[in-house]
């Protein structure tokens, strides 16, 4: 099997303090926080952010150009019928001749995408994303979380680095009602947890035994055990029964970010890779409509290819200022009065297709005569007026500085007010865009900013994906 060449996770900026739920509803809640995707994020945009972190971890190697396949997994795709992976493919600027497909609808798709990419003979990328909640006051609302993780596998002979080898794999599949949701329903339904606990136990035993046998290991030789899955009670039992050393049991981070369902195995694996030493063994068990086990062995290359944004740092950087009412409105459980403004213009297909490099990839132009950058790309240079002498210049990963800004309280936005900034990119180029993940007292002239892929708004059933700026925060 191929090795892991790069990885990265994305934990959205916002946290909901669980105590705020009880504060509003008088019941429920609990301790700790859960991660919350912004109102301008969906599973596709989360996937792009995780993918960017993973590609950046391949510093030096042309991972972007090497990727031949992209598998996108989520339980809540932004579109049905239309492939969501194509927007991710475009935003990550993957090769035009690479395959990009969805594996969506079920939580189990996450580990499915991971295994499919891992088994690919050519370099392949799996991106797992989820945005999860439940009805107000529910356990799902409290315990779940939002996030994404991306993994790039080297395939055979690609020349990409190998940070971890996959040494064993086991699977058990079973048809039973544990968790289900009708398409379009606001919340999942689950059977009694004790039922799932009883069904998952034997399935996990089979998968783990097969994987460890392939790897030639006993449970005691496992350095890091991750048990992921929305059935928390079953997962806890399997951790206890796994027979690994107590210090091998990893923190599943649910106290701080909750359980991101489809993406959880990826986030937890990235978290362990962030700190695992060379030559260590990781056992990943995923519970979802069966059990899947994966054994990885880290290499010496891991230490020099870790992403710039470790999971722990992203967790620490989160903001707990989010009000419960705001959370409810972001997830569609609380309809707020919109401004007395026209509905936003829907995206038109032909212009979006013509400008896909810019819209999704943030690829601007640079005049080959005078060097001036233009955002969006120009045909006529605004400095030297040369016509059609432009080269493409990708700016998504170039930092910028806020030249000026305003707070727009009248504009249509799903979460007023709108922060608008004029950004000057390092090395030249200016654009006006919205600022995400920021509060009024943070916005200032001179603020350092970086680009982030967002869903600006949805109009006429069309999601408008484009880039925003966000404050540069210490996440490394």
């Amino acid at each position: 099997m191929g090795g892991l060449a790069g990885y990265g996770a994305y934990i959205p900026y916002y946290r909901l303090e669980r105590s705020r739920i009880a504060g509003a509803l008088g019941t429920g809640g609990g301790r700790g926080t859960r991660s919350v995707a912004g109102y301008d994020e969906d599973t596709t945009s989360l996937a792009v952010e995780a993918g960017r972190v993973a590609l950046a971890s391949l510093a030096g190697a042309d991972g972007r150009g090497a990727v031949r396949q992209l598998f996108f997994a989520t339980a809540v795709p932004a579109y049905a019928d239309k492939t969501n992976a194509t927007a991710i493919h475009a935003a990550l600027r993957l090769p035009a001749d690479a395959l990009a497909v969805d594996m969506v609808g079920a939580v189990r798709s996450g580990v499915g995408a991971l295994l499919t990419a891992a088994q690919s003979a050519t370099p392949a990328m799996a991106v797992l994303a989820d945005i999860r909640t439940g009805l107000p006051g529910s356990a799902d609302e409290r315990d779940s979380g939002d996030g994404a993780a991306a993994f790039i596998f080297a395939g055979a002979g690609s020349g990409l680095p190998v940070l971890a080898e996959i040494t064993g794999q086991g699977c058990a599949t079973a048809e039973f009602l544990d968790r289900w949701r009708s398409p379009g329903a606001a919340a999942s339904r689950v059977w009694e947890e004790r039922f799932g606990e009883q069904v998952y136990g034997p399935l996990a035993e089979v998968a783990v035994a097969d994987a460890l046998k392939q790897a030639g290991l006993t449970p005691g030789q496992v350095d890091h055990l991750i048990v992921a899955g929305l059935p928390a009670r079953a997962a806890a039992r399997i951790v206890r029964a796994a027979g690994v050393r107590p210090e091998a049991v990893t923190d599943n981070r649910t106290a701080s970010i909750g359980n991101a369902g489809t993406a959880q195995p990826g986030i937890l694996l990235a978290d362990v890779l962030d700190r695992a030493g060379p030559g260590e063994t990781i056992l990943l068990v995923v519970l979802a409509d069966g059990a899947t086990a994966l054994v990885l062995r880290t290499t010496a290359a891991l230490a020099s290819h870790r992403p710039q944004r470790p999971v722990a740092a992203q967790i620490a950087a989160g903001s707990t200022a989010l009000e419960y009412a705001t959370f409810l409105s972001w997830r569609g459980f609380l309809d707020r009065e919109p401004p007395r403004r026209p509905d936003p213009d829907p995206v038109a297909a032909p212009p979006a297709q013509r400008r896909a490099d810019w819209k999704f990839g943030l690829v601007a132009s640079r005049c080959t005569r005078c060097g001036l950058r233009s955002l969006p790309p120009d045909r006529v240079c605004q400095n030297c007026h040369a016509v059609d002498e432009m080269a493409a210049v990708p700016l998504a990963d170039v930092p910028a500085t806020v030249a000026t800004f305003t707070v727009d309280r009248l504009a249509y936005t799903p979460s007023p007010p709108m922060f608008m900034v004029v950004l000057d990119f390092d090395g030249g180029g200016r654009m006006r865009c919205q600022l995400a993940d920021a509060t009024e007292d943070e916005v200032r002239i001179g603020l350092r900013a970086e680009m982030t892929f967002r869903r600006l708004v949805t109009a006429a059933g069309v999601h408008n994906y484009f880039w925003k700026a966000r404050p540069v925060r210490a996440t490394g």
């Binding site: 007395r340 400008r355 819209k359 305003t406 707070v407 504009a411 002239i445 600006l456």
Partner: protein, 402 residues
């Protein structure tokens, strides 16, 4: 190559202007009929004697039929045009050129906007289908113009609280002027404290820093200068007409610092050259400028050469641009208090020049500068926003060949 202007070749010999406001009971047609018949009557002509029409409206209708139908014009040339908020001035500019060319003897420029049928706050534009990737349609006009205030304050070392006082003074002054004007949308003086503490709309701009959203129409009759005395004893001779569209590079070029409209400076230079004006602040009797938002008026004082760079805010605070000041700016209340029905605003500005220079403003609004013998007025109309806009400047005067 060269911009030569048509100084003193044409004259305005009649004008009409509706009251501006929330005209729930009046349609676009009603407003057009009202201003067109008033302008024609003012020139002493019937509509049938007008040879050609230029109708400016941003969104209240398309094609010449928007005017020819309500007026039942019999097979006349009617052009409908649009140049954002400079639309009304653009209709005047085109009518003037048509007469100067000799193509027509009598032309009408007319502007109209019916904003209050939309049900929205502010402007509701309609953009061509797009990719949603250029920031267009994201932010509102007050947000775009609000960028001027912090940039100006930072560049010239004005304390933010003092900057708020400067903006407040501009709104206060224009409301003072509008309060005396029966055609204005807002006819009440507003205390500075009310202006200053009004709910924020964007950046440091409150509701009272924004122009009035209103319905209205205004019209002018243009003839050759030589023919003007046949229509009125007091024609307004057109000294300069300048319109520029910028390269729209302010939002894409880091060189732009949001403390000026280069388009305004360019159109002012061109207009002053056409009119032979050297010191606008001393030569003009009044200026009607595009005060869509209070920081716009501040920056315009410098771009139009009424104040030195970085000094405009002091001149505002000292009352230089008050109705009784060195150079009265927006003595009719401006966009702020008179209201801003887009396509009509440029011609509404000209209407104030028409009243003031001809001594027809009521006594309580009459300007000392006119009594002192100044005979020139400037109108300035702007469309777009900081970084990308179109700008129009005209100069008119009561003396031909002066």
């Amino acid at each position: 190559m060269g911009s030569h202007g048509i100084r003193d070749q044409v004259a305005i010999v009649g004008m009409g202007c509706t009251a501006f406001g929330e005209h729930w009971g009046k349609s676009t047609d009603d407003l057009l009929v009202e201003s067109a018949t008033a302008a024609a009557a003012s020139a002493g002509v019937g509509l049938a004697e007008i040879d050609a029409f230029w109708l400016g409206t941003m969104g209240s209708g398309v094609s010449g039929l928007t005017l020819s139908k309500p007026l039942r014009l019999p097979y006349k040339p009617v052009t409908r045009l649009e140049n954002m908020c400079a639309t009304g001035s653009e209709s005047l500019r085109n009518a003037c050129y048509a007469v100067a060319s000799g193509a027509y003897d009598v032309a009408m420029a007319i502007g109209v906007e019916k904003l209050k049928d939309s049900g929205y706050s502010g402007l509701a534009g309609s953009n061509p289908p797009g990719a949603g990737d250029d920031g267009k349609g994201d932010t509102t006009a007050p947000a775009n113009f609000s960028l001027l205030a912090p940039a100006y304050a930072a560049k010239y070392g004005v304390d933010p609280a003092e900057m708020k006082d400067v903006l407040t003074r501009i709104a206060w002054k224009n409301h003072q002027n509008g309060a005396k004007n029966p055609r204005a949308q807002f006819r009440k003086e507003v205390p500075k404290e009310t202006i200053k503490n009004s709910p924020l709309v964007a950046g440091m701009l409150g509701i009272f820093d924004c122009s009035g959203v209103s319905d209205g129409s205004a019209a002018a009759i243009v003839v050759r200068a030589a023919d003007a005395p046949r229509y009125t004893g007091k024609p307004l001779y057109v000294k300069a007409l300048s319109l520029v569209a910028g390269p729209a590079s302010g939002l894409s070029s880091p060189d732009y610092d949001f403390t000026t409209f280069p388009e305004v400076a360019a159109s002012a230079r061109d207009a002053y050259q056409q009119a032979g004006i050297r010191d606008p602040r001393a030569e003009l009797a009044l200026a009607e400028v595009h005060d869509c938002f209070t920081p716009t008026e501040l920056v315009l004082m410098e771009d139009l050469g009424f104040a030195e760079r970085g000094q405009g805010w002091k001149d505002v605070l000292s009352g230089c641009f008050d109705a009784g000041g060195d150079l009265p700016v927006n003595p009719d209340g401006g966009l702020k208090a008179f209201g801003h029905p887009i396509g009509a605003s440029g011609l509404r500005m000209m209407f104030e020049a028409w009243l003031q220079l001809r001594g027809e403003a009521p006594a309580e609004r009459a300007l000392r500068t006119v009594a002192d013998g100044r005979s020139l007025a400037l109108t300035h109309n702007l469309g777009g926003g900081p970084g990308e806009c179109v700008s129009f400047v005209s100069v008119v005067g009561t003396h031909r060949g002066a």
